[in-house]
């Protein structure tokens, strides 16, 4: 799988009702650390069926950012069974990203 772009319209189906855990990347194009993390997320998503990675543009999806109380980016939120189970703010290395969702 590759990283899936998520909006308010498909958030419920892609994230909340996902059968596998979801790592949601709240980001913005003007955020350098977010852009630095993108290639790591792409690599983690590639061929991965254990969980999925979604990207949420907080400028376009400000309601989602507000619903999930995102006020600092990059912000990674892990969802399992529709519930938030883990969160990390700021640039972190690839191993640490994987550990967030793999536990």
């Amino acid at each position: 799988m590759s990283v899936i772009e998520v909006t308010k319209a498909n958030f419920e189906s892609e994230v909340l009702k996902s059968e596998v855990p979801v790592l949601a990347d709240f980001n913005a194009g003007w955020c350098g650390p977010c852009r630095a993390m993108k290639p790591m997320l792409d690599e983690l998503a590639e061929g991965n069926t254990a969980y999925k990675i979604v990207s949420i543009d907080i400028d376009a999806e400000d309601e989602l950012a507000e619903d999930y109380d995102v006020s600092s980016i990059p912000c990674l939120v892990v969802f399992k069974g529709g519930e938030e189970v883990n969160r990390s703010v700021g640039l972190i290395p690839k191993d640490a990203i994987a550990a967030l969702v793999e536990g």
């Binding site: 350098g32 650390p33 630095a36 790591m40 600092s72 290395p93 690839k94």
Partner: protein, 302 residues
């Protein structure tokens, strides 16, 4: 064994890699997070020669590709220790160890924390270290900035355009930052400057909701309700892991002159973690060039 290991893939480290590769030395760059370093947080660089405007991310990506194109290897692991065995230095990461004839420390610096209880937990939940990154989340809200240097003044000005109310809390009675910014701030109606005061407590439930500010002169405590707290109290050089090989000054910066030599032969220091008067992109890249040139000389002398 590599000729040269560079620790840190910011502008200084990556420039060192470019110079070392052009001198035909084998180079490994070790980086804890991602290439780029602190400059990633700068949305628009306007003072680096050649390009009038470039984002920190685009700048870093170009330098990264340039260094890779010249044959520098990059490994994303954090260097936690260097063992010096004279002609051979062993750099240890949590997973591996790597050997080289010379090492360049280009580790940069990280944000200084206030050191208050719950500060870590509330980062991203009301506490931020980057106003230009996170200011947009605080439109029409109440925020405070802590600090008295140029970064604090610039952050407060930036936030004054977005937020309903900005408090600037400074531990002294005058600013280190430049007078123009201080004057601009004083003219803003939605900015209140609180002098001679420290933030002494964070009050939160799920998010930060208030801070306690203690007056240094009379000890009085004031509670300020707010949505966001921006911390701009300087940076801390990341030299702690290498203090065995490098002399550090009182603030933790590695002591070295313009030639970037440290107390240990074959260990060089480049960029923001070195003692210097001006920490800018252009002085970081200049350090990278100098440190690499000296490291190449050292390797050739073995």
């Amino acid at each position: 064994m590599y000729d040269i290991i560079v620790i840190g893939a910011g502008p200084a480290g990556m420039t060192a890699a470019i110079y070392a590769r052009r001198a035909a030395k084998t180079v490994l760059v070790l980086e804890a997070l991602s290439y780029g370093g602190q400059i990633l947080n700068t949305p628009d660089i306007e003072n680096y020669p050649v390009e009038a405007h470039i984002s920190g991310f685009d700048f870093s990506t170009k330098v990264y590709e340039q260094a890779k194109g010249l044959g520098a290897e990059f490994v994303f692991e954090k260097a936690v220790e260097i063992k010096d065995e004279g002609g051979v230095k062993t750099v240890v990461t949590p997973k591996n160890s790597y050997q080289a004839k010379a090492v360049i420390l280009a580790t940069g610096s990280e944000n200084r924390k206030l050191g208050l209880e719950d500060e870590q937990r509330l980062t991203g939940k009301g506490i931020s270290y980057c106003a230009t990154c996170d200011g947009n989340f605080y439109r029409n809200k109440v925020v405070a900035v802590v600090g008295g240097g140029n970064t604090a003044l610039e952050d407060a000005l930036y936030l004054a355009d977005l937020a309903k109310q900005v408090y600037l809390i400074h531990r002294r009675d005058s600013f280190r930052g430049d007078d123009t910014n201080a004057a601009r701030l004083k003219a803003r109606e939605n900015v209140e400057i609180i002098y001679n005061a420290n933030v002494t407590k964070l009050i939160a439930e799920k998010r930060l909701k208030a801070i306690e500010v203690t007056d240094k002169l009379d000890g009085s405590v004031r509670t300020i309700e707010l949505n966001g707290l921006f911390v701009a109290v300087g940076r801390v050089p990341e030299n702690q892991n290498f203090a065995n090989l490098v002399q550090l000054d009182d603030a933790g910066y590695a002591v070295a002159g313009e030639d970037c030599h440290t107390a240990t032969p074959g260990v060089f220091v480049a960029g923001d973690n070195r003692v210097k008067t001006l920490r800018q992109l252009v002085t970081a890249t200049a350090d990278g060039a100098m440190a690499a040139t000296e490291a190449v000389k050292f390797v050739n002398s073995l």
